[in-house]
């Protein structure tokens, strides 16, 4: 097995320390950092597939995201030295809506979006419609993600969409809502375009919208 194959395998098997040492080995031997990050991305995708098949669980998804993020930090100086900046695949603004502070799903969604190459703005929790509006304006976002678990969150999601509408931004963005209780009824009520209770699926939806990969 080549070092690159071994890297791919150890990300999928979540062997954290091994991943970092292989990364250094590859960089020492002048491997193309862009190629290396693609390997990592593909490995995280396989972890996502295993998650969907219930071979892996949320813990594994979180761990894969963590390994990717730490690896990206190791790669960063090499990618920069490579001069040509990596182009963002799209801009996503994500937050847990007003009145709700649950963020486990939101954080995983954000990690996976980043590992898929999106530019992501994490607003945090208990976010007012106005803050969503401001961030969307400021970043020219393509996609907005509302996260929420409580039933009160639904009302805030609806208000946030109303606020985007009244600022003339609704047609410029796609809206995805996420959280364990979200369903079609929630999506319609919230004036969103998609819903998901699965962070990995959420990323797939965003990719489809922005015609990535």
């Amino acid at each position: 097995m080549s070092v690159k194959d071994e890297l791919y395998r150890s990300v999928v098997e979540l062997e954290e320390e091994k991943v970092y040492s292989l990364l250094r080995q590859l960089l020492d031997s002048n491997a193309d950092p862009r190629e290396v990050i693609e390997i990592l991305r593909k490995a995280v995708e396989l972890v996502g597939d295993k998650f969907n098949k219930k071979e892996y669980f949320l813990t594994e998804l979180v761990m894969a995201g963590e390994i990717f993020q730490q690896s990206a930090k190791i790669l960063e100086p090499f990618l920069k030295a490579d001069n040509e900046q990596e182009k963002s695949k799209g801009v996503v603004v994500v937050g847990t809506v007003k009145g709700d502070v649950h963020d486990i799903g939101k954080n995983i969604f954000i990690t996976l979006l980043k590992s898929a190459g999106f530019e992501v703005y994490d607003l945090g929790v208990d976010i007012s419609p106005q803050k969503f509006v401001e961030k969307v304006k400021e970043t020219n976002a393509n996609v907005v993600g509302y996260s929420g678990l409580l039933t009160v969150a639904l009302h805030s999601m609806k208000e946030t969409t109303e606020a985007l509408k009244s600022e003339g931004l609704r047609d410029k963005v796609k809206i995805i809502i996420g959280g364990l209780p979200t369903d079609e009824m929630w999506m319609k009520e919230a004036g969103a375009d998609a819903f998901t209770d699965n962070a990995f699926e959420g990323v797939k939806i965003v990719k489809r919208w922005l015609e990535v990969g």
Partner: protein, 387 residues
């Protein structure tokens, strides 16, 4: 607060008889129904969420009001119970001293129900270096008096006496059992809440042996803490919650190593000590329901939310424990009475046979009363067992 309520229509069994019969896996007169109501009355009468939390007389009034407003149901919460839960001096999931619970009228508006802030990522309650500290010093050093103060703790015995009085009122005057008189979670879940779920999931991979060591160290204390509070109030019912080890979080391997032995130990001990044990299983447990067969038979009630397949649960656990589930909280806010009735009937059709079923769900504070009535009335009519 005094008000005469309309008497509840009599039925062949009292709620206490009905609930106990269903829990012992026999058929009562009809299917028991329990809407798990927390702060809902604050949206309907002139009592705030803060008062429901802090004023046992007002909260008792609020719970008696909703009980009568809905025509009676089978399990209640005693006034003041919420205070005992959130102002718990022991390290527990609901304790505002240990977990970042924002409470109404303190860090939230007076009418906003408590919210758990998952202090994940860079600001956890417990750092990864603290696992050894727990083994050396226990958990009490984690207490934080920002959200609940010493003054709150001094009120506990007075409010505890009220809770006891109102508990007796429910059991003897209304013949309705009060559930959730005490609540505990296993060390695994406690650590997950203290570390923040995301951090803890990484720890599971990075320090599995350390986590196991801490769980072994904490388990007996956790068992004692759960029994202590409830024995002070002469309570009978104890909730054992399960929040972070379902199929929505961890693999069977991690479940088996770090969660299940401890969960089994707590539940078995409480049943053997004579408590009525309620299991409160958040998120999806479908692929691990069969483990529950290792728990004592005919003594336990288990609540599942809509993510666990209740029909599968009936198939696997129908001869073993009383179950409740499959109703989505938002149905009671967004749905219609017809939708609620349809779902109630489906659950009764598939799960009522032989007893061992409660119908109900956790009820959002902004639920519509007509939806709650639809569930309750369907249980009282369609849910009658024909002998």
């Amino acid at each position: 607060m005094e008000q005469e309520f309309e008497p509840i229509k009599e039925e062949p069994m009292t709620s206490v008889e009905r609930v106990m019969t269903a829990m012992s896996l026999k058929e009562p007169d009809r299917v028991p129904v329990w809407p798990l109501i927390d702060f809902l009355p604050a949206n309907y009468i002139d009592i705030t969420a803060q008062e429901i939390l802090e004023d046992p007389d007002k909260s008792q009034y609020a719970y008696e009001w909703i009980y009568h407003e809905l025509g009676g149901y089978d399990i209640a919460m005693a006034g003041g119970g919420m205070y005992m839960m959130y102002i718990n001096p022991f390290p527990d999931f609901f304790s505002a001293y240990y977990v970042d619970w924002r409470l109404p009228g303190r860090m939230l508006g007076v009418n906003e129900p408590p919210q758990l802030v998952e202090r994940s990522l860079d600001n956890p309650i417990l750092t990864e270096k603290d696992y050894d500290k727990i083994i050396n010093e226990g958990l009490l050093w984690l207490a934080n008096f920002e959200r609940a103060g010493i003054g709150d703790m001094t009120k506990l015995s007075k409010i505890g006496a009220k809770v006891e009085e109102y508990t007796i009122k429910w059991w003897t005057h209304y013949n309705v059992p009060t559930f959730t008189e005490g609540a505990v979670i296993v060390p695994f879940d406690l650590l997950s809440v203290f570390r923040g779920a995301t951090n803890f999931m990484k720890d599971i991979y990075r320090y599995p042996d350390k986590i196991k060591e801490v769980c072994d160290f904490l388990i007996d204390d956790v068992i004692l803490m759960g029994e202590y509070g409830i024995s002070k109030m002469k309570g009978k019912t104890l909730l054992v919650g399960a929040v972070r080890a379902s199929a929505d979080f961890v693999s069977i391997k991690h479940f088996e190593e770090l969660f299940w032995p401890y969960f089994k130990k707590i539940v078995t001990k409480y049943v053997n000590d004579g408590f009525i044990v309620q299991l409160h299983m958040d998120t999806n447990w479908t692929d691990r329901l069969h483990y529950l067969l290792e728990l004592p038979k005919g003594k336990i009630y288990m609540h599942m939310d809509e993510r666990t397949d209740i029909f599968k649960a009936k198939e696997i656990l129908g001869d073993h424990m009383c179950i409740q589930g499959n109703m989505k909280p938002s149905l009671f806010t967004l749905g219609t009475p017809a939708m609620v009735e349809k779902q109630t009937k489906e659950i009764i059709d598939k799960c009522a046979e032989g007893g061992g079923l409660f119908v109900g769900a956790e009820i959002p504070d902004n639920a519509k009363l007509e939806n709650l009535r639809a569930m309750i009335d369907t249980c009282k009519t369609y849910g009658v067992y024909r002998k």
